[in-house]
């Protein structure tokens, strides 16, 4: 996967050199890069792996999920804050995830922390279990459990391709 | 128009900081204060950003990142202190 | 530059040499070597007698801090010569005496070094023309006296007496220094002769009387005049040769020398006359009065010394009356009083020195100096 990226950069660099300009122009480089993407899209089967822009796509998707979750959760919190009576029942519950490696784990934890009404409080020493504090346990447990699957899938798309 | 909105935004940030300040003073527990402090840091960042828009200058943009870094480190240090009573461990157990 | 400057410096060099010499000489009594110094000096000064009595004076200068007008200026006239002879002569005798008096267990090099230090300092006092240099030697006499009184410093009384004498004489010295500085401020010179020559212009100066009293303060503390006499009896803890030499014959005469030296400067005022005379008389009576009550022979002699010093002081005071009453320094009163004072000065030195030495011998032989035991 990184190999593809490097090749792409190389193509872009080559492109820039072939243009034979006086100075280094970033626009030429970007043009070269785009050309490289095209070439790679055509050629990626020869490298035997998936086209790396798919990874980029999933990363962007993950980011969008992040942002939308953040917006949702903020709105939720603000609704609760601004409601005249606090009608919440906070609590802590556990969740066992299926992530591997520090980066996946951390990403999931960050995502969870930003989802509506939940904060990851503890990670068990083996790293398998999250202890999550929720604003409204009953309500958010379901939503968290539901959305968490989506997250896991999104993350795995990025990390494992 | 824009200036008015920006002024309002700026004063709202100040208000938020003052509210958080109240939480710092009242407490009641140490983590409460840390939470509020973290919030002040975050609001300060926004305030600086808005301020640089008001003044039409780029000179303060570095401040944003620096305040962010410092707020994070201080929150981290305070949280550790609350949690374990030390800040830098010599040798971690695990 | 005159040879006489070296006369002052010889004792200092000799004192510095003693520690080296002591190692070489070994068991031989070092006193014999030390004795040579005052003897030579005595001869040097004695050779000057004809010149001085003919009315000549000798002056010479060695530069020290010329930019501030502070120099080793030597001035030898009759008054100085008498005292110089007294110092060297008594010095020789006392050293001779102490050769037999001190036990070999005492720290002889220290003793002789201090004694030579004192001798040099005292010569400096009587020969200096420059006020500040005079003050330098003045303080040196106080210090050497301090060291000599505390020669047996393991005794508590010695330490007490040494400290008391040092504090009082240094206190007086500081007063005298202030007086000298005032004189300098008035006349812009440190030379006694120049001051005496020009002082008549400054008698109305605001500093004139403060300067006079401050100089007198120095003289009175050194010469154990009432009420500063209290250090002298305590100083009798010193070894007897020291008592004989410093505390009856020479050092206590420094104050009197000062008064004599400054009579031409301040003598024309009533304040000088009354102060010197009255203090002298009170000291004379108080000293005698106290002396009667003493049983310790040395203390008795100390108080007797105080009263004798008072006598000499009052004589100088009376002499100055001649100046005050306009009789002039050529008058009979001035001449007579001064002559009497100087004569008694020498007189007292010799007889009191002898008495002290005798007491020392008694002490040695009998084992006590308390009479009536």
């Amino acid at each position: 996967m990184p190999a593809q990226f490097l090749i792409n950069i190389m193509i872009a660099f080559l492109w820039t050199l072939l243009m034979d300009e006086d100075a280094f122009h970033i626009s030429t480089f970007i043009g070269g890069y785009l050309t490289g993407i095209g070439i790679l899209f055509l050629m990626h089967r020869f490298f035997g792996t998936k086209f790396y822009m798919i990874r980029v796509y999933s990363t962007i998707k993950l980011l969008l999920i992040f942002i939308s979750e953040l917006a949702q959760s903020s709105l939720l919190i603000m609704k609760q804050i601004l409601s005249p009576k606090l009608n919440i029942s906070p609590g802590i519950f556990t969740y066992e995830h299926s992530m591997e490696g520090d980066y996946e784990l951390t990403t999931l934890a960050l995502l969870l922390t930003l989802t509506p009404g939940s904060v990851v409080m503890e990670v068990s020493p083996d790293g398998k279990t999250f202890y999550i504090h929720a604003m409204d346990v009953e309500e958010s447990r379901d939503s968290v459990l539901k959305s968490i699957k989506v997250f896991e899938k999104a993350i795995m798309e990025v990390t494992r391709g | 128009m824009i200036q008015t909105i920006l002024t309002i935004a700026l004063s709202l940030f100040c208000l938020a900081i003052l509210l958080a300040l109240y939480r710092i003073i009242v407490g009641p527990s140490m983590p409460d204060r840390v939470v509020a402090l973290d919030m002040i840091g975050v609001n300060l960042i926004s305030g600086v950003a808005v301020f640089s828009v008001v003044l039409h200058t780029h000179a303060f943009l570095e401040v944003i990142l620096i305040v962010g870094i410092l707020a994070f480190i201080s929150t981290l240090a305070l949280a550790r202190f609350v949690e374990r009573g030390d800040i830098v461990e010599h040798k971690r157990n695990n | 530059m005159h040879l006489l400057i070296f006369a002052i410096l010889i004792p200092f060099f000799a004192a510095a040499l003693i520690p080296l010499l002591y190692r070489r000489v070994g068991k031989l009594n070092i006193g014999w070597f030390v004795l040579i110094v005052p003897l030579i000096l005595f001869i040097i000064f004695a050779l000057r007698i004809p010149d001085i009595s003919a009315g000549d004076t000798i002056a010479s200068t060695l530069e020290w801090i010329p930019s501030l007008g502070i120099n080793f200026s030597i001035y030898l006239d009759g008054l100085s010569l008498i005292l110089a002879l007294l110092i060297t002569g008594m010095g020789s005798l006392v050293i001779l005496y102490s050769i037999y008096y001190l036990s070999p267990y005492d720290s002889l090099p220290h003793f002789y070094a201090y004694l030579l230090l004192f001798m040099g300092a005292m010569l400096g006092v009587v020969l200096s023309d420059n006020l500040l240099v005079l003050y330098v030697f003045w303080e040196l006499t106080s210090i050497s006296s301090f060291l000599l009184i505390a020669f047996w410093f393991h005794r508590k009384n010695s330490r007490y007496g040494a400290q008391k004498s040092l504090l009082i004489t240094v206190f007086g010295g500081f007063g005298m220094l202030a007086g000298f500085i005032m004189l300098h401020t008035m006349t812009d010179t440190f030379s006694v002769r120049e001051i005496a020559a020009t002082i008549s212009q400054y008698t109305d100066h605001a500093l004139f009387y403060p300067a006079m009293f401050l100089v007198l303060l120095g003289a009175f503390t050194k010469s154990a005049q009432f009420p500063f006499h209290i250090w002298l009896p305590d100083a009798m803890e010193a070894p007897t040769p020291v008592s004989a030499y410093l505390h009856s014959a020479t050092m206590v005469k420094a104050g009197i020398y000062l008064v004599a030296r400054f009579t031409p400067v301040f003598g024309g005022t009533s304040a000088w006359f009354w102060t010197v005379t009255l203090v002298g008389l009170v000291t004379l009576f108080w000293g005698s009065f106290c002396a009667v009550r003493q049983t310790d022979l040395k203390a008795l002699l100390a108080y007797s010394t105080i009263s004798q010093l008072g006598l000499i002081m009052s004589l100088f005071g009376m002499g100055s009356a001649a100046l005050y009453f306009g009789d002039g320094s050529d008058g009979a009163l001035y001449g007579l009083a001064t002559f009497a004072a100087l004569f008694h000065l020498v007189n007292h030195s010799t007889f009191k020195g002898a008495l002290f030495m005798v007491v020392g011998i008694v002490d040695h032989q009998v084992g006590t100096r308390i009479s009536g035991v």
Partner: protein, 496 residues
């Protein structure tokens, strides 16, 4: 006129100090390096002093910014005399440190800190900018904090806290004064400030600012506000207190002289009167303190206070004689205070106690030490012909000239108290029955006496050889009394 060499007395110690940090493990090497650099800076200071006599005041503008912009170093006779003395005294103290310091001190950055301290001191003497003076003060103070706490026994820590807090507060007051001065005259270059003050006239505002300066520098110098001094000067080891006693208060005194002779000289009836009153009270307080204690370190520390009062009498009077005398006395005091603290430290290390009543009869066992102390005592009391004498005479003469008889009396009486307080030490610890037998006596390292004897020689030499330095001192006093010389030298090159 551009003279990079002016910078060296501050730069060299810093550079060498930094290098020494890398040589942490080699105590001896560190010591020799520091001694070497101090000796070299003594040579430089002497060379500069000669230069000043022939070429007039030297100046170095940092980065080539002409005054009044930028910061600059100015070397006149007064500063250079102090730099020279600092270098010599520091060399000797370092010698003592090398012979006495244990493994512990050598490996805890002792020498680098000393060098930084000296750099701060020299910088304060040489700088021509008030803010830079503040910075150099802080360099010096920070090093002194570190020195005070090195070793870290309880007493040291306690005194250090007091010392540090007081100095921090006074430093901020220094900044307050700088702020007001900057607000009033718009510059901090000393010569330029002087010009501006002279132009605008020293009104009530500026006089008030000058009094803030007075308070700040008095705190540093120990003038009247000396309450912190005895404790912190008596707590640390001998070498440190010798450095403190010899150098730290002197920087405050230097600043007082500089500021009140160069800048705020227009209203002497207010400022100099206050200085006089403070000096008088300092003399009284110091004298009482010196005779009140049984702890010989405290006695020595109070002697520092007395000396400060005495020197400031010279400034309060401000006649040519008095200023000259004060300079002589300042130089003398640097030498003799170093000696005093070294001797006191040696006595304590020999007897294991600092209490007067617990020691006796050292004279028998350590005669050389005893005589050193005796000469120190006399020199401190201003007994001729030792080094304290000429300064005392001249300051007294200044007091007489200006009619300040009260100050004169106090100054002379304080000398008596000095004498008495030290006489007590001498009498109790050196005289008396020797209570320690020959076998039990702690051996005195001969090498420890070498620095002491060097200082003794110095004090005797300064007394007898006054003529050698009198030319420089006169020049220094002349510059102090005529601010125009200084101003011309600094502002002459640039726009005026």
């Amino acid at each position: 006129m551009m003279n990079n060499i002016v910078l060296l007395p501050m730069l060299l110690p810093i550079l060498v100090g930094v290098v020494l940090i890398f040589l942490r493990a080699y105590g001896r090497v560190q010591a020799w390096f520091s001694i070497g650099v101090m000796a070299v800076s003594a040579g430089i200071a002497f060379y500069l002093l000669e230069q000043v006599q022939t070429n007039g005041i030297l100046r170095l503008d940092f980065g080539g910014w002409e005054p009044p912009f930028g910061i600059l170093f100015v070397a006149d006779s007064f500063s250079l005399l102090l730099v020279l003395t600092t270098a010599i005294v520091a060399t000797i103290i370092l010698l003592y440190a090398m012979f006495s310091a244990g493994k512990f001190l050598q490996t805890t950055y002792f020498y680098p800190t000393i060098l930084f301290l000296i750099a701060g001191v020299n910088g304060s003497f040489l700088t021509g900018d008030l803010f830079n003076l503040f910075v150099c003060f802080e360099v010096m103070l920070l090093s002194s904090y570190v020195l005070l706490t090195l070793g870290g026994n309880k007493r040291q820590l306690r005194e250090a806290i007091k010392y540090v807090v007081i100095n921090i507060v006074s430093s901020w007051f220094f900044l307050v004064a700088l702020a007001y001065l900057y607000g009033a005259v718009g510059t901090l270059n000393m010569a330029h400030v002087s010009v501006r003050v002279a132009e605008a006239g020293q009104g009530p505002l500026l006089t008030t600012v000058s009094i803030i300066f007075l308070i700040v520098f008095s705190l540093k110098a120990g003038l009247l506000l000396y309450f912190w001094l005895p404790g912190s000067y008596s707590a640390p080891p001998a070498v440190t207190s010798a450095l403190f006693g010899a150098l730290l208060t002197k920087v405050g005194i230097y600043a007082l002289f500089r500021v009140f002779s160069l800048i705020f000289y227009h209203q002497p009836e207010i400022t100099h009167t206050i200085i006089g009153a403070m000096a008088a009270l300092t003399l009284v307080g110091g004298s009482l303190g010196a005779i009140a204690f049984n702890d010989i370190r405290k006695i020595a520390a109070y002697n520092v206070v007395i000396a400060v009062g005495f020197i400031l009498v010279g400034l309060a009077v401000s006649t040519p004689n008095a200023v000259e005398g004060a300079i002589y006395y300042l130089i003398h005091d640097m030498v003799i205070k170093a000696l005093l603290f070294l001797l006191v430290g040696t006595i304590i290390s020999l007897t294991g106690t600092a209490m007067l009543d617990k020691m006796s009869g050292l004279m028998k066992n350590y005669p050389l030490l005893g005589w050193s102390f005796f000469i120190t005592m006399l020199s401190l009391a201003g007994v001729p012909p030792l080094s304290g004498f000429i300064g005392k005479v001249l300051v007294s003469e200044g007091a007489v000239e200006s009619g300040s008889y009260g100050l004169l009396t106090l100054a002379l009486l304080s000398s008596l108290f000095v004498l008495y307080s030290l006489l007590r030490i001498f009498k109790n610890s050196f005289w008396g029955e020797t209570i320690v037998s020959k076998e039990d006596q702690v051996p005195l390292k001969k090498t420890l006496l070498i620095p002491c004897l060097l200082l003794v020689l110095l004090t005797v030499g300064l007394g007898l050889g006054t003529e050698l330095i009198s030319g420089y001192v006169t020049d220094a006093a002349e510059t102090l009394l005529n601010p125009d010389i200084y101003i011309d030298a600094v502002m002459g090159g640039g726009e005026s």
